[in-house]
C-alpha cells in the first residue's frame, strides 16, 4: 500500500484513541513501520528547565537529557532533522545511554516537531533501520508524519498542563 494511504488510515486510528499514552504508542509504531526502524522515542521539550524528556520510550525506561546534549539536543538547537549513520564516530552521540541499556545504536534519524508558534515542542528519534542506513527520503517521510501529528500533540500537551 502507498505510504500516504497508510498514513491516512493511521490518522483515523489515531483520532479514535482517547488517551495520550495510547496515541503516542501508535505514533511510535507508525514511525517505525514507515521507515523500518527498530526503536522510536518521542522527546518532549521542557523549555523552563532546559530539558528533553521521553514521553514515549521504546523499551528504554524514561530518559531525561539536557536540551543541548546528544543528537536529540542538537536537533532541538538547530531546529533541523539529523541523520547519523555512524553514531560512534559522531562527537554529539551519548554512548553512555547504550552502555546503561545494553542496546547498540547503529544509526539514528531525528526530526523536530513544531507547534503552532513554530517552536520545537518535541523530537521524534528513530534508531537502527534494518538492512541499510537512514536516507533522505526516510527523513522526508518522518518530517511529514511529525507535522501530521503535531496538532494533536500540541493539543494533548496543552490540556495536560
Amino acid at each position: 500500500m502507498d505510504k500516504f494511504n497508510q498514513i491516512a488510515d493511521f490518522g483515523k486510528e489515531l483520532a479514535s484513541l482517547e488517551t495520550s499514552e495510547n496515541a503516542l504508542l501508535l505514533i511510535g509504531e507508525e514511525a517505525k513501520r514507515l521507515v523500518g526502524a527498530d526503536r522510536c522515542s518521542l522527546f518532549i521539550v521542557d523549555k523552563e528547565d532546559a530539558m528533553l524528556w521521553t514521553k514515549l520510550s521504546d523499551g528504554m525506561g524514561r530518559i531525561v537529557i539536557g536540551s543541548d546534549s546528544g543528537i536529540v539536543g542538537d536537533t532541538y538547537l538547530k531546529q533541523k532533522p539529523q541523520i547519523v549513520n555512524k553514531p560512534y564516530e559522531d562527537e554529539r552521540f551519548l554512548p553512555h545511554i547504550d552502555k546503561k541499556s545494553g542496546y547498540t545504536t547503529k544509526n539514528i534519524l531525528t526530526v523536530p516537531i513544531f507547534n503552532s508558534k513554530h517552536e520545537v515542542m518535541g523530537i521524534i528519534q528513530l534508531l537502527n533501520k534494518s538492512r541499510s542506513d537512514f536516507h533522505s527520503n526516510d527523513l522526508e517521510t518522518i518530517a511529514f508524519l511529525a507535522n501530521y501529528v503535531s496538532g494533536s500533540l500540541e493539543l494533548v500537551l496543552m490540556l495536560e498542563q
Partner: protein, 172 residues
Amino acid sequence: MKYAKTYHTLAKFGRELLEKKSLEEGLPLISKYAKDVIGAHRCSIFIYDLVAGEFWSTLADGVERITISADKGLVGFTLQEKKPIITNDPYSHPHFLATIDKETGFKTKSVVTAPIFSSKREILGVLQLLNKEGGFDNEDVKFMIFFAHYISGFLELTNVYLSKNREVKSTK
C-alpha cells in the same frame, strides 16, 4: 481565556475530520467548525497552488471551485507576510479588495486570516473569517493560529499526497 472550553472539545472535531478521505469532504467541515466556534458569518479556506500562482477555494458544497490571484487582497498579503492579518475596518486597509464586495453585494465589516503551513514550512493555504459581531480580537487570532496548525496535517495529506492530480503535478 474564552477558548478554554473549545480546546477541550477540539479533539472531537479532529476525529470527525480524520474520518474524511478527501480534501473536498474535509473543507466544508473545517469551515463550519471555525465559523461556529469563532462566531463569524463566513469562513473560507484558500488552498495555495504554487504552480498556477493562485489560490483556489470551494463554495459551500465543497466541490465547485473559485480561484483568486495569489498577490492580491488580504489573502495574498497573508501569503506575503506569512502572518495572520486582523482588521475591523477593512475599507481602510491598504490591501483590502473592495471590488469583491461590489461584485457579490456582501459587505465585509471585519476580517481575520491565518496562514496554514506544510511540513516543509511552506504555505499550504490561508484560513479566512469574515464579519464577527463586535469585531475580531487577539484571542480569536490566537485560536486561529492554533486551529490552522491543527488542520494542516489533514490538508497536506489530502491536498498534496493523496490528490488525484499528484501524478500530473510531479511529472510536469
